[in-house]
């Protein structure tokens, strides 16, 4: 139906070839005759609308210029027909070409003619009012259009309007065109008895093709040779069989032993139930806390919820996520065999002898010695164990009777007492007291009158040598007023003295000066009243010094090391590494082979001098800095006092045979001192004969534990 539409005009042509190219015929007929042209102009022009337009437009321009009617123009058209056909250019008056005409909006002209002269726009000064008036008055207003190329108004003819309307309606432009022509079946389905053409058939249509034969024979050969096989039907379903029918232990790879199987997923607890017991549901604040936690930190990966019945349970939105995470764990996580420590914590606690079996040791607080108004820095006890002396920051030294806690004497010394030491010789009653830059030798005048009388005599029996020796200190005899208070001798140092300690025999004593030169340690002989400086060079800030109780050894503790000097040979014997940051105090076992060092980093180091220069044991019992340590002279006990306000008494048994290591057992934690100024216990001291321990604290009291 639609196929033959352009060929409708050439109905008479029965030839099949002609029908296909009817368009050509149009162009041919265009030039054939004017009569036909007229018809064609109206007729097939509908098929190609733009062409008619293009032709129509110049025609109108012509009419405008000539200012003649359409009929005239038609006649003109008939006359100029050949001119027009021969060349298109002549027809075109405006030479600007196919451009948007808006470009000329602002110009008085609208283009150029063939001679290059401007074509002026027609004078039209119509404003809106004029337009309106025209609209109202001009009956042809509706058929007037403006030519864009010339700007002139054109009144459309009836034919033109008819054409426009037909096109608008979607009809063919040609009035005479009949789209509903009866269809002529050129290629009928009915088999005709005669052939369409009388041409005899080719020879090759009777002979089998050689090329095909060659191809087929090749395929046949390939099939025969087994090169081409018929396609097997595909079976997607996997086939299963008894894979483990022959479990051969030999075929297990060696690497299988190394394989770490993935840990199984954790089994769900009550809280994961859809209807858990009410205590497993999260409370409001727990839920908020859960939400604020990072997803990795949460102990539960979900919020437990309670559903009244099974039908109310929704799908878990993270189900696929969880499976996926499990997959990731399986192939991305490094696996490692970790030995779980499956020990009973009780087994970790060392089996120590029970403290009850290690008695006696001080267990309870027995007496409190009150009197000092400031912190009590140091303590010392008379060799007999009857008298106790204490030095305090309030500038006084007090003498106490041990058994009654009565203050026997108060000796104001006018300065902070850093250290004091009772002469260990039982036949001499003398106390060395460090006050600022001097060491006072005081006779407390307590106890046996004979004894302290003898001491005074001993001191007075001093005969100054003939030739004055150069001494690092000045020995001054006390004035009468001082003598009355008990002070016998003053050893004046150049700098402040911070520690004093007696040799076991009671003649020599050593003092430590807070200095960083080689003058830090001085050894004095009280009977001869002369002092010497044993060291040529300083080896660091000396914290404390100590005499060996039996042998001529001298211990000097600097911040991190304890140096042991042989006084006879005058050489360094040993250097003990304390493994502490800052040694605060030091005490020696009465046997002389073991030393304990307390340090400000709350450690206590036990050295066995026979064993090594490193600590045999480092005890971290205290929470805060250790201030002092002490050994008992008879019992295997040692104590340490610390800033945390406790005194820890330990059993420290040293065996005579060298094969057995010392046994250290803490036996008692003694508490009592109140913390003042962040300081607790400042000094600890054992009674020389009884298993009693004294402690002086920053709260200004001295306490006795028995």
């Amino acid at each position: 139906m639609a196929e033959p539409c352009p060929s409708s005009g050439s109905e008479e042509l029965t030839d099949s070839e002609g029908s296909a190219y009817s368009g050509l015929q149009d162009s041919g007929s265009d030039s054939s005759s004017s009569d036909e042209e007229e018809e064609q102009e109206e007729g097939p022009g509908g098929g190609s609308v733009p062409r008619t337009r293009a032709k129509g437009a110049p025609r109108k321009r012509k009419t405008l210029e000539d200012d003649s009617s359409l009929e005239e123009s038609k006649a003109l058209l008939a006359q100029n027909e050949y001119e027009e056909d021969s060349s298109d250019e002549e027809d075109i008056r405006n030479t600007v070409g196919n451009i948007p005409m808006e470009w000329y909006q602002d110009f008085p002209h609208i283009g150029y003619d063939l001679e290059g002269k401007k074509i002026y726009k027609p004078i039209r000064n119509k404003d809106e009012l004029d337009m309106f008036l025209e609209k109202m008055e001009n009956p042809d207003y509706w058929r007037t259009v403006q030519d864009k190329m010339t700007g002139a108004d054109i009144k459309l003819t009836d034919e033109q309007i008819d054409l426009v309307q037909r096109l608008q309606r979607g009809q063919f432009g040609d009035v005479h065109f009949n789209p509903y022509e009866p269809a002529v079946d050129f290629f009928t389905h009915e088999v005709m008895i005669h052939p369409v053409t009388n041409r005899p058939a080719d020879k090759r249509s009777f002979i089998p093709s050689l090329i095909e034969k060659e191809k087929v024979s090749k395929l046949v050969h390939a099939i025969k040779m087994g090169w081409i096989k018929p396609r097997k039907p595909k079976d997607d379903t996997p086939t299963y069989y008894d894979l483990w029918a022959h479990e051969d232990p030999n075929s297990i790879l060696g690497r299988h032993k190394m394989h770490v199987p993935a840990p199984k997923m954790k089994l769900p607890g009550h809280e994961e139930s859809y209807n858990p017991p009410p205590e497993y549901l999260l409370s409001e604040e727990e839920r908020l806390a859960w939400e604020q936690q990072e997803p990795a930190e949460r102990r539960l990966s979900f919020v437990p919820r309670q559903h009244r019945s099974l039908r109310a349970v929704p799908a878990f939105p993270r189900f696929i996520h969880e499976r996926f995470e499990r997959c990731l764990d399986l192939y991305l996580c490094p696996r490692q065999r970790k030995m779980r420590v499956n020990v009973d914590p009780e087994d970790l606690i060392p089996k120590l002898p029970k403290p009850r079996d290690l008695q006696p040791f001080p267990t309870t607080q027995a007496l409190v010695y009150r009197g000092h108004t400031s912190l009590v820095r140091c303590l010392s006890i008379s060799p007999s164990g009857q008298w106790l002396v204490s030095g305090s920051d309030d500038g006084s030294v007090r003498f106490w009777e041990v058994s009654t806690a009565r203050c026997m004497r108060t000796l104001p010394v006018g300065g902070v007492v850093k250290s004091l030491a009772w002469n260990p010789n039982p036949s001499i009653c003398l106390v060395a007291i460090c006050v600022e830059q001097s060491v006072l030798l005081v006779n407390p005048c307590l106890g046996d009158k004979l004894l302290y009388g003898a001491t005074d005599q001993l001191l007075e029996s001093y005969v100054p040598p003939e030739e004055e020796r150069v001494q690092p200190v000045r020995w001054v005899t006390a004035t009468a007023e001082e003598h009355g208070r008990g002070i016998r001798l003053l050893v004046q140092h150049s700098k402040a003295v911070k520690q004093v300690t007696w040799h076991g025999k009671g003649d020599y004593f050593a003092s430590v000066v807070s200095d960083n030169s080689n003058m830090q340690v001085l050894i004095h002989q009280s009977s001869k009243r002369w002092s010497q400086n044993p060291f040529r060079r300083s080896k660091g800030l000396v914290q404390c010094v100590l005499f060996h109780p039996i042998r001529p050894y001298f211990f000097v503790a600097t911040q991190r090391y304890v140096r042991v000097y042989n006084l006879l040979k005058q050489e360094l014997t040993k250097k003990l590494m304390s493994n502490c940051k800052w040694v605060s105090s030091m005490a020696i076992h009465p046997g002389g082979d073991n030393i304990i060092c307390g340090s400000y980093d709350s450690k206590l180091a036990w050295f066995d001098l026979d064993l090594s220069t490193r600590p045999y044991q480092l005890l971290r019992h205290h929470k805060r800095a250790l201030r002092s340590v002490a050994f008992h002279r008879r019992y295997p006990l040692f104590a340490s006092g610390s800033d945390d306000g406790t005194v820890i008494v330990c059993h420290g048994m040293v065996y005579n045979d060298l094969l057995q290591n010392p046994l250290l057992v803490p036996v008692k934690v003694l508490k009592g001192h109140a913390l003042t100024l962040d300081l607790g216990v400042l000094d600890v001291l054992f009674h020389p004969t009884q298993p009693w321990v004294f402690s002086s604290g920053a709260d200004g009291t001295i306490r006795l534990y028995t």
């Binding site: 479990e247 769900p268 994961e272 009410p278």
Partner: protein, 583 residues
Amino acid sequence: MGGVEKKKYERGAATNYITRNRARKKLQLSLPDFRRLCILKGIYPHEPKHKKKVNKGSTAPRTFYLLKDIKFLLHEPIVNKFREYKVFVRKLRKAYGKSEWSTVDRLKDNKPTYKLDHIVKERYPTFVDALRDLDDALSMCFLFSTFPRTGKCHVQTIQLCRRLAVEFLNYVIASRSLRKVGAVVFLSIKGIYYQAEVLGQPVTWITPYTFAHDHPTDVDYRVMATFTEFYTTLLGFVNFRLYQSLNLLYPPKIDGQADVELKPAEGKEYAMDSESYLEKLSALSSSLARVVAPTHEEEVELDEFPVEGTAEQMDARKKEQEALEKHKKLFEGLRFFLNREVPREPLAFVIRCFGGQVSWDKSLCIGATYDVSDPSITHQIVDRPQVQQQVVGRYYLQPQWVFDSVNAKLCLPVADYFPGVLLPPHLSPFVTEQEGDYIPPEKLKLLAMQRGEEPGDASEEEEEEEDSNDKEEEEEEDESEKEEEMKLKKLEEQKTQSNKALPVTVTAGKLRLEDKQRLEQEQQSEEKRLAIMMMKKREKYLYKKIMFGKKRKVREANKLAAKRKAHDAAVKEKKKSKKAQRA
């Protein structure tokens, strides 16, 4: 001196490990292929002890594999298949580009495929090894079998997963192996956990609730599909072996007699033959065909070995065996009917596992054996607020009863599970409380019930008793208050008297009783404290860690107990107020 200079990182740990990228290059595989290979072969990264040494001095985070593992991968036939597949894809793309459709067809026909049988055998040299690693395989197959048949992964995979999962369920039913001391099924908020004992190995798996999946976008389905590929192979072989061990046919065939029954009577085809087979199988309602005709008496009596153990032990074992048998036949003789709103598959599976008979509405699923109106139904599982028409002679119960009974190893009293009733909590059967752990009161009740006591009434009695006790206490309190008042008055009187008489009084000294036990305890604790002081640093650290964990456990248990107490108190308060309102 002399000798060759030793270079760093040429011996020791550095040579035992290989980074992922180097391994990939060595194998000449792309990263996705390498991943696939690692998943299939079960190769996982290793964390070297000294990372910096292995990393040649760098501290950059890297994944390390054992060099031995990678060398092991080198002669894996699958690697070649991967390469072939790569070539295949390239050719196919080219053919598509050139629109050579016959080539496309040819190529598609010759698509390289591989089998994973040898890998399964290699990874699990014994059957027991395979059973031990079945958890993930089952969970994954159950998940994939619920996926829609569009997108995400191949339809064949989903169908295969479904088939294997159903086959496994059927095996469990046939072997009645869903039994473990205590625990089997757990309805969690994530899904339903099952645990079965297969040839002595506990196998746990989880299935999601049957809802459409909201497929997340941040999940790599390729990885999951690779895992599934391996798991389906594994599960297929395991299923085969399991069926063989029970003398069942594999692939499973529905018992001939049952098969006839299952045929729809009206002559309407339910589905295509190929599909209806799986549907019938997944109905879980019919027994499977055996290779050898089943002998009904296959209960194996426990042989008595007089040598082994004492008589008591034998008795204990026998008892245990009996209990097991009893547990196995928990639902024997009971006939269940599932309403259409309850999840059919888990319930049918569990009931069938414990010897019960189960049916459902005919229109719900294939395989219904009897109708609602059947008078012999003993239990009807219902999950709606109330049942309009109740038939006399059967219990209407919520589905939780089935699961709780199975977990408790006894048929629980039905009163708590009637439709519309507030259900008792559903407890996890996987939790075995050690001493010191918090045990919810429901569990305690259950344990008592298992021991054969009758705590059901006792608790109510207790409550009543408690109420009465409260009253008594209140009364007592009143009395004591009165007494105290009397005393005070007396004292006042005395005071006034004494003031009048003498300024000094002798008060009777109090006898200080020394609590010996307490003293002893104190001493012991002090000894312990002192001993702890003497611990070595490392041991002390460990000790403190252990003690911290213990304390936390206790704290949590206490917290739960307190919460429960508060909850109970609140509930009681409510009850009382209600009572008061009524009164």
